[in-house]
């Protein structure tokens, strides 16, 4: 069962553009985490959101957790080539999941920012 759906799957934009990627689920999570993964490396945590409606900012990145704690979005302002990578959302503590508090990952959004 695919608990977390991420969209779009691929995104190619030019430097300076804004973008939003989405992470949706029918499950309620105790928290959602966003990671960024570069080729040949492990995922690196960007942010954890815990409270429904929570908004967190990390420089040009803005993360929002849905009020019902089922979905999240990542907005990047004025994207730069260094933002290129695979953005993964991961949910913990899904009520419908049999994996307890283990993190379940979405498939990710592959972002390419060209100069």
């Amino acid at each position: 069962t695919q608990l977390l759906e991420q969209s779009p799957q691929f995104l190619s934009i030019q430097e300076g553009e804004n973008l939003t990627v989405y992470c949706n689920s029918s499950s309620v999570f105790s928290s959602l985490q966003w990671y960024r993964q570069e080729p040949g490396e492990g995922p690196v945590l960007l942010v954890t959101v815990v409270t429904g409606g929570e908004v967190k900012k990390l420089k040009r990145l803005t993360f929002q957790f849905g009020d019902a704690r089922k979905d999240s979005s990542l907005h990047i302002t004025a994207a730069q080539p260094g933002d290129t990578g695979l953005y993964l959302c991961a949910g913990a503590g899904a009520l419908e999941s049999n994996s307890g508090y283990a993190l379940n990952f979405g498939k990710g959004t592959s972002l390419l920012v060209t100069p």
């Binding site: 995922p43 954890t48 508090y101 993190l103 990952f105």
Partner: protein, 114 residues
């Protein structure tokens, strides 16, 4: 900054052989994990480990898999009789706590089963 280290970075093995993937988690972390990522697919949870025993495991983690913390620093994943479909990137991770705690991942071991 402390990091999770994994060895080897790439392992090639023949079908039916046993492999052991090694990880050194961050020293003050208490929870340890193995995830895998088949090429082009999502990162999948295999197992979590705390206080020298498995705390959770997924359906993927069947009898061919086992984990061990043989000493105070290493955390290993053993695959007893490898199959072609075990080819994947295997990531070790550690965290200070299980609830809403960020995971620190290693750079993975690419396992190729021929």
């Amino acid at each position: 900054e402390p990091e999770v280290t994994q060895t080897p970075s790439h392992q090639v093995t023949q079908m039916g052989q046993e492999v052991i993937l090694r990880c050194v988690p961050i020293s003050n972390h208490l929870y340890f994990y193995w995830y895998r990522q088949i090429l082009g697919q999502k990162v999948e949870f295999l197992v979590s480990f705390y206080n020298n025993e498995i705390s959770e495991k997924s359906e993927i983690f069947d009898d061919q898999f086992s984990v061990e913390r043989p000493d105070g620093s290493n955390f290993t994943l053993k695959i007893r009789s490898t199959k072609l479909e075990d080819s994947a990137m295997y990531f070790c991770a550690s965290s200070t706590w299980i609830y809403n705690s960020p995971l620190h991942f290693g750079n993975g071991t690419r396992l190729t089963v021929t």
